[in-house]
Symmetry: C3
Amino acid sequence: MKAVILAAGKGERLEPITHTRPKPFIPVLNKPLIVDIIEEIRKYVDDVVVVISPQHKDYFMKNLNNVSFVCQKEGKGTGAALKTVSSVIKEDFLLIYGDIFLGNKSIISELLREKNAILGVEVKNPKDYGVLVTNNGNLSKIIEKPDNPPSNIINGGIYKLEPDIFTFLDKISNSERGELELTDAITLMAKEKDVRVIRYRDFWLDIGKPWNLLDVNKWVLDNLSSSSNYGKVEDGVKIKGKVIIERDVEIKSGTYIEGPVYIGKGSIIGPNSYIRPYTVLVENNKVGNAVEIKESILMEGTKVPHLSYVGDSILSEDVNFGAGTLIANLRFDENEVKVNIKGRKIGSGRKKLGAIVGGHVRTGINVTILPGIKIGAYARIYPGAVVNRDVGYGEFFKP
Amino acid sequence: MKAVILAAGKGERLEPITHTRPKPFIPVLNKPLIVDIIEEIRKYVDDVVVVISPQHKDYFMKNLNNVSFVCQKEGKGTGAALKTVSSVIKEDFLLIYGDIFLGNKSIISELLREKNAILGVEVKNPKDYGVLVTNNGNLSKIIEKPDNPPSNIINGGIYKLEPDIFTFLDKISNSERGELELTDAITLMAKEKDVRVIRYRDFWLDIGKPWNLLDVNKWVLDNLSSSSNYGKVEDGVKIKGKVIIERDVEIKSGTYIEGPVYIGKGSIIGPNSYIRPYTVLVENNKVGNAVEIKESILMEGTKVPHLSYVGDSILSEDVNFGAGTLIANLRFDENEVKVNIKGRKIGSGRKKLGAIVGGHVRTGINVTILPGIKIGAYARIYPGAVVNRDVGYGEFFKP
Amino acid sequence: MKAVILAAGKGERLEPITHTRPKPFIPVLNKPLIVDIIEEIRKYVDDVVVVISPQHKDYFMKNLNNVSFVCQKEGKGTGAALKTVSSVIKEDFLLIYGDIFLGNKSIISELLREKNAILGVEVKNPKDYGVLVTNNGNLSKIIEKPDNPPSNIINGGIYKLEPDIFTFLDKISNSERGELELTDAITLMAKEKDVRVIRYRDFWLDIGKPWNLLDVNKWVLDNLSSSSNYGKVEDGVKIKGKVIIERDVEIKSGTYIEGPVYIGKGSIIGPNSYIRPYTVLVENNKVGNAVEIKESILMEGTKVPHLSYVGDSILSEDVNFGAGTLIANLRFDENEVKVNIKGRKIGSGRKKLGAIVGGHVRTGINVTILPGIKIGAYARIYPGAVVNRDVGYGEFFKP
């Protein structure tokens, strides 16, 4: 059996993180999202076919092994993406959206027991998703983001399908937003065949917004079974709660760690750093003197070496914060922090949200970054600057 | 016997502290000034009558128990304040100004042995006060802030009086500054009756200026009899000198405390904080990572959570400092720090004086506050701002 | 035998360090450069004559004992300087330039075995120096800063000479740059007499640029034979590598020291400071809460008390950094840091170079200093200022 992963999205809503990596490579602890799901489905399938965008081809080829790639050169939408593999899919197959995180992955085996099935996730806010209308456990139809949702079961983005889905794909046309919607084909199929709805109540997240990285990593950290330490921890280090310390990590005296926290391989912490719950240091990170990191993600090679506060933020790879760089994570009015997403101010639903920083950013010393700010990859922030607006890709921000 | 406490002053000279609390409620360690004196005089009197300003009625009713209140609705000055209780004072009584701190309170018993008496405090700077002219241990008269003081004994603001003081009050008229001065009535009484002057050489302070809070708390800390610890102190905490740690306090590893220091109940300190001598954390305070507090008072619920320096300052209740907020406490020329008091620049007599911050203030991250600055209650300071002038009540200070 | 030390240079290229001390008094650990060399040559000579500039007379008289001084009142250049002592030099003598640091001082004994000799130092960048042309171990001539150096042996600034060098001095005239060049006289002498070239391959440095202080102190620290501790180190202090702790030093808990480091007498460190390799605290320094010092020199009495980062920098005597003062030591483009030397931007050859701060400077709180910046002695930097240009002697720098 084959699995098809749709991973061709541009990921604009996750910029600036996706300035330098495709969305499926956002890290869950130290593992890219797509690797996390592939490791699971390999139990059930022989081959994994990943549908990607041509612009990400090199990145995928370099960072994902033992899978085959199909470039989605034309057409928009999940339907168009699936059509790109029609030539290689001759039998029942597993279909997964590449930006989904599943807490309890064993549900996949239930899907696979059916001829055609769709994952139906119970959520509190069905309005934001494709809502499933069911009938005796079968799918009737899928309604995209209805104002008055008929149920709280939504499309979990994982299907088991027979190949004749492709015939239904040929019967549909682009939706209002100009995309070929797989869900229209599925709805069409459901009129003629049983498409079982596999109910799922565990943790599930569609990583659609930058702060969802914080949410998914928080869930994983909350569900760590135990601590582990493969690194070197000096005396005078305080560790509380569940903490994972990978190999080649060095934690210097005076460091205070409140789990759950993940410290990826090769990272150097301290002295006198303060790592607070729900912090993920993906790998080869440096957190230095008197630096406090709270509920944030530092991706590969990122360094926060001196006298900084980073709260509820995401720092992509190879970022270097000048001494004294501070991120604010709370508005004065303590309202939800809003973020510019594709030109529109979107409410994050979070009272506390810091900055979203793209890869390879350099801040000068004593930089001040306001809540919800996005800093594009390769940007430079002048020393002492107060960053009170988003900064573009490669921009040199001066006061 | 009754005690009358005059507590109707507006406390403008103690703004912004008095933006959100009447002057008598300024804290001495964790106890309001007025509670401190009431606890003492209850040894001698049955009832305490507090003369208050109508604008403070709710505050007093909510925060002071087992006393009766009389609102001073009209007239200005201590004489007018005392007249408001004339109807309830039928016998000898103890009279105390509500903004006085007495180091050695046992002196009160000496006052009470006399028919009429006034506390005569020996000071180095009599010019700033009402100076007592005495004759064989009796009061001749009181001269307000004389250029050439006849003695160094001043009016300590505590009297034992017979009720007929009220007749003398009726005989006087407003002073040049338009106030009915109790001292004029006392001077008049002293012409006809013995008013004993009870000499007092211990610590005494009229809390007239904001920095007097630092002085009075410093005296109390200097006179702590011993340390005590009812809180939770992790290993790796260094404590030197006399330190009071109240219940529900948590002190995290790496914290360094140099007494004398008072840490009020429910406060959370550390990790790696530095609390230096003469610091008072009144209660439920947070002093966080790499924060240094020196000879300052943090009132109820105030938080300085990250990478701040607070020296020789007063932070009223529920203040929250953004990460990296710094207060300067020393001028370049190292001259005395001056402070705006009721529109005039007043010398504090202190080489080191930081900021006076009103209640509920929020500073953004990386805010810089200059010496002697007053920040009004509920003000907001924009991130990265350099506060080089006083900030008004509720003002949003932007660079 | 006598030794003559030429120490009359104005040291403009070492400003602002030389705003408040003559160049020969720049510290090597806790010892002035000139004291370091005098202590060595006393093994060989009876008297030391130091040629100084009249403007430095008081400083020399106050800070250098058991030597005689001759003021160079007129003439420019090393030749003119040497001529000032012609009247007191009647026999062979040792001649040393006062701004030279010699790692292996035993070489001097080899020089002294010759009638006339010059130290020939092997270097990688001969172009920047006077290059020696030799013949069978004798000096042929000295070529100043040749584009195509005939050898990699340069003038080490140490000579053994017979008195008749003075006759050769009388035969030469000023060079193109208007200076009487000793090297012209030596070249002239070499035509008539054997001037032996004593080859030297160990560490040698002409302290010509401010950052050379960092280089020379680094070499000395690298060559410390062992650690020593004459101070008071509290528990909870972490010390790694070779560290010299002089008497009356106090190191508070939470301090983390990575040798090689030198901590001069009377210094107070901590709590929770971070001293990194190649840091020299000359004496009576204060490094306070959460302060990180990396590969820097703090001269006598200088204080960095709170929440600062100082990297690859030189702070002259009696400097006081306001809380949160930060020095940047790395350009965004990571190119070599350039420094204004006598009005020209000179490449330091260093990727990391912080600030050069003159004596008695005061920075306000939260000051930001960019790489390669020079701050003149007695300057004042306004709180929150971003110092992005050099600051003059005594200037009050405001944003």
